[in-house]
Amino acid sequence: MIQFDNVTKSYAGGQTALQNVSFGLARGELAFLIGHSGAGKSTLLRMIMPSEHPSSGKVIVSGHDLKELPNRKLPQYRRSLGVVFQDHQLLSDRSVFDNVALPLRVSGFNHRDMGRRVRAALDKVGLLGKERLMPDTLSAGERQRVGVARAVVNRPSVLLADEPTGNLDPELSGEIMDLFEQFSQMGACVLIASHDLALVARYKHRLLSLDHGRLLSSDFVSGSSDV
């Protein structure tokens, strides 16, 4: 589903964000991306979106070599992704409903289906009934959950999340992670960048460990709910 082949990303200033990173994730796989700040986690996620391209190597997602993907096919590809951003990236002048409905609206869903899917997504993140509220009136945790609802509302085949539980309490973090696990069990490929090693350890997953742009390991880890 997601394939990185010797991917290197260097910037004009000589800084290297990723060095010869290679790994593969299959359909239905749940993977966590860990590493210190500046290890290259966000760069790696941006290459899948893709808002950046590798300096060398290949990123192949759902059979698409992203560097070769023509601009006109980019929107269609992005509709197959769900992305949870660390800083929510919500539209402050739109209601919760409109924020969550955005991926459906750009995909051309009709209003009836849009309403049904938005309410289902909000129900999953525990925000049903808050459709009409504006993001500024929500707590940081609620905003993050709106971001999660927006990411999953389109039932994406690939779900990316950059520190999705950073603003959530442990209980809610667990619920959101359970949601991501459910998505992977339904066949989606889920890749989550996270600092929360204790939370990560609760799930069966692939662990991609990055350090200064190098992939140190990509091992399979059995989860333990006791952690």
Partner: protein
């Protein structure tokens, strides 16, 4: 107005058409209904956008209106002048002064022959005596025939030509001048030609003004769009990341450009009509002093719609250009 609106909205729809496939097996009719609903919603939302920064929107509309009002006023005045020249040309007359030795019978017979000429619409024969009477009536001076041995005025045939074109009139004048009975012909077209040349120069000036001020309008709307894009930069980025096509991103801006252009055009039309109303009285007074039937006419319906269509298209094109430039820059990053 209906045809104009349909034309403009079709352009917006074409420029913002998306290759989005309709989901959930909706029929093509349902897809079209949804597509139209989306456009209606975007059009409504973009009108609301105008009121978010009312002063800025009013300034943009004001600038567009003023920029378009100047060439539009010139075009309307030139149209009035053109109609005046045409009406004068329609009244163009050729006076044929007959030789003094042409008898009254020959003169009358000649006028009868000329009446069947293709280029002649109507004519009037004035004998020597009638010419004298007309001269005395028009000048108010009695000719002292007792001091003169004979009437010095020739018989005249006043021909009203069937054509209004100066070239055709000159050809007819030259043809009639060759008649053996004719001593001299008179066709006073020089001043009409001069006026026509001035009007033609005015038309070129109006075209140049339209071009220059259209560019001004383009830059004004593009600059406004640039500010709006900056204001909505994060929204555009998020929409692109969740799979929004360029057409989808462009659509609200195209509608905004349409509203700017349309309201700017309406302002220009209103300003020009107000100007015409303002100068109508003084122009009529001057016209009366010259015994002319010239008057400044109101803008024609066709020009009204053309002006609105033109200004609306300018707004849409400017928005399309600016958003496309922004998206190209975003892709290049």
């Amino acid at each position: 107005m209906g045809a104009c609106s349909v034309a403009i909205l079709s352009v917006v729809a074409l420029m913002s058409s998306s290759s989005t496939k309709r989901k959930n097996g909706s029929s093509s009719q349902g897809g079209l209904k949804h597509y139209l609903t989306e456009h209606k919603q975007t059009a409504g939302e973009s009108i609301d956008q105008l009121w978010i920064k009312p002063f800025g929107s009013l300034m943009t509309i004001f600038l567009i209106g003023l920029s378009l009002a100047l060439p539009l006023a010139l075009i309307v005045i030139l149209e009035s002048g053109d109609k005046l020249v045409s009406s004068w040309q329609g009244q163009s007359k050729i006076s044929l002064f007959l030789k003094m030795d042409v008898s009254e019978q020959r003169g009358a017979a000649l006028s009868q022959n000329l009446a069947s000429h293709n280029g002649v619409r109507s004519l009037r024969y004035l004998s020597k005596q009638q010419s004298l009477e007309e001269f005395e009536n028009n000048s108010g001076v009695a000719v002292p025939l007792e001091l003169l041995e004979e009437n010095p005025l020739p018989a005249v045939i006043v021909v009203e030509a069937g054509t209004a074109h100066p070239g055709d009139l000159e050809r007819l004048r030259d043809e009639l001048a060759l008649l053996p009975e004719v001593e001299h012909t008179q066709l006073d077209l020089l001043w009409v030609k001069r006026l026509q040349a001035i009007l033609q120069a005015g038309q070129y000036l109006a075209q140049a003004l339209v071009l220059i001020l259209a560019l001004v309008v383009l830059f004004v709307v593009m600059n406004t769009m640039k500010l709006l894009i900056e204001h909505r930069r994060s929204e555009i980025e998020i929409t692109l990341l969740v799979g929004g096509s360029h057409a989808y991103i462009r659509r609200p801006f195209l509608y905004l450009g349409l509203w700017y252009g349309l309201f700017g055009g309406l302002l220009a039309v209103t300003a020009v009509e107000s100007l015409l109303w303002w100068i109508e009285g003084p122009v009529a007074s001057i016209s009366a002093l010259y015994e002319s039937n010239f008057y400044v006419q109101s803008m024609s319906l066709s020009l009204f719609f053309k002006a609105l269509l033109f200004s609306s298209l300018l707004g849409v094109i400017a928005a399309w250009l600016e958003v496309s430039l922004h998206l190209r820059r975003a892709l290049a990053k």
